[in-house]
Amino acid sequence: MIRCSDLHLTFNRGAPTERLALRGVTLDIPAGEFVTVIGSNGAGKSTLLNALAGDYQPESGAITIDEQDVTAWPSHRRAGLVARVFQDPLAGTCGDMTVEENLALAAGRGTRRGFSLALDSGRRDRFRETLRDLGLGLENRLGAQMGLLSGGQRQSVSLLMAALQPSRILLLDEHTAALDPKTAAMVMALTDRIVQDQKLTTLMVTHSMRHALDHGDRTIMLHEGRIVLDIAGDQRKGLTVQDLLDQFAKVRNEALDDDKLLLG
């Protein structure tokens, strides 16, 4: 169970470029739920994800994971509970290390890293099996430099790495946005498979309304740092992209009206 209560976060506070990124986000995610997050640029989607991961500290509000308050934990301490895949395929892996070394790094998430060898034959076999499931032929390239792989391959491996160790929540930050449509579809299918197989609690930010409705159990829409739409179950089932766009337009107008009231 992940709980965000009344998160507030401001960038460049006091400067002319001050921006309220989160203005009171409250969100409960029960274990095993797959939530998709949509919203326009600057709505606060990535900020919410980074706050959950510990990259940003909220000014007020609290984040609890399984009743444990993790608000003040730095990201490396939270990593035992939080797994993530970044938007940039280069960001989630070390390009100048080999595929198996990257997997070994991820397999150590949330554990103490001692002086025993990071790779042995048992681990290599396990990694080879995991990579075989991808169907990309990477099981024969354990010793290849990560930097030699294509963006889609690197992102697939990033996804595998995020799922190698158990986590309380998996954070996906537009992880298919930098890929071509065919590769994006492949990575999305892999995402669904991993999330379902391991029953992972997942928060996925996406720029695609289609993806937001086709995947997961629940969809939330962020606008100007607030959750303006939160739909799940039957209500979500019949929804089309057009409905979502209409909702979005409505929300925006309302927001504009609010501002008019404030300003006027």
Binding site: H76, C94, D96, F115
Partner: protein, 314 residues
């Protein structure tokens, strides 16, 4: 060049291989440009020489030198990580401070090490001439350090260290405290450099406060020569390439100084080193530019040939 001069070059090259390992750790593995080494090299020499003249066992004294160097590396890391001082500037601050520290440790600008036991003493009964003995002992020590270091860099903790330099954000997302690994790496790096200083002092019979000038450039020269001549992917091969680079650098310097026609003297060493490192840094770039020029010319010469597609690597 006489055999003795040749072996002398090899010996110094082997000692400086430890500097190369340290520079490889900071510059390449951690991606932390660290100039502290110019101070930790004479610090190691000062600590070891002073302790030895006070009657301390030379091995224990060398170990104390490692600790002193590690402490110097930690100071630089604290200045950078805790107080946000730019890494280059942080290391220059430490380096400057270490000049005074070394003077204080020695109680003067230098300490002679004559008629005292050194790390070489236990092997002197073997009947080998000193000019053979020193390179052999240092080769064993350096190879041992290379093996241990490679083993460490392939451990879970060592992988975390490498990830810190390669992709710090990914490292943190995987639960690695990049601050902790940087402290560790900087301590290790400067500890190795201080060990080199300690061994250098014992091999040459003195420690001097000015012996650190240019250490960083010599270490970089060794790393770059090694990388250029022996491009390697595994960590152990990379370290052995640094070792080979360090020895080759010394041999090149030795030959240049011994060639009477060139008219070079020992005082020209720093300029030659700087030119050598400069060339090693410039040549790969010129080579790349020439290659891309050639490729462009080949393309314009045959306009019907396959045009580059978006997927073409540069």
């Amino acid at each position: 060049m006489s055999v003795i001069a040749l072996l002398g070059s090899v010996e110094i090259g082997l000692v400086y291989a430890l500097v190369a390992f340290g520079v490889y750790l900071s510059f390449r593995v951690l991606n932390f440009p660290d100039l502290t080494v110019d101070g930790s090299f004479p610090l190691g020499a000062a600590v070891a020489a002073t302790l030895i003249t006070k009657g301390v066992d030379p091995y224990l004294a060398s170990f104390a030198a490692i600790l002193a160097g590690a402490a110097a590396g930690l100071v630089t890391a604290v200045l950078n990580l805790r107080f946000g001082i730019l890494h280059l500037l942080a290391s220059i601050l430490t380096m400057t401070a270490l000049y005074t520290v070394s003077l204080r440790v020695m109680g003067g600008p230098n300490v002679p090490l004559l008629m005292v036991d050194t790390v070489l003493t236990p092997f002197q009964g073997l009947g080998l001439q000193d000019y053979w003995l020193k390179p052999i002992v240092f080769a064993v020590i350096t190879l041992l350090v290379a093996l241990l270091l490679a083993r460490y860099l392939n451990s879970a903790s060592g992988l975390a260290l490498r990830a810190t330099g390669s992709n710090p954000r990914m490292a943190r997302a995987n639960g690695i405290s990049t601050d902790a690994t940087t402290y560790l790496g900087m301590g290790l790096s400067n500890g190795l450099v201080a060990l080199a200083g300690a061994l250098f002092a014992q091999a040459n019979g003195f420690a001097d406060v000015t012996m650190g000038i240019g250490t960083i450039v010599i270490g970089l020269a060794a790393v770059i020569i090694g990388e250029t001549l022996l491009p390697a992917r595994s960590v152990l091969w990379m370290l052995l390439a640094c070792l080979a680079g360090s020895v080759m650098y010394r041999l090149a310097i030795g030959f240049a100084l011994n060639a009477d026609t060139l008219g070079l003297t020992a005082s020209d060493l720093n300029l030659m080193t700087a030119i050598l490192v400069g060339l090693a840094l410039i040549l790969p770039r010129l080579k790349r530019e020439a290659a891309s020029r050639r490729a462009r010319r080949a393309r314009t010469a045959q306009p019907t040939a396959a045009r580059p597609t978006a997927g073409d690597a540069p």
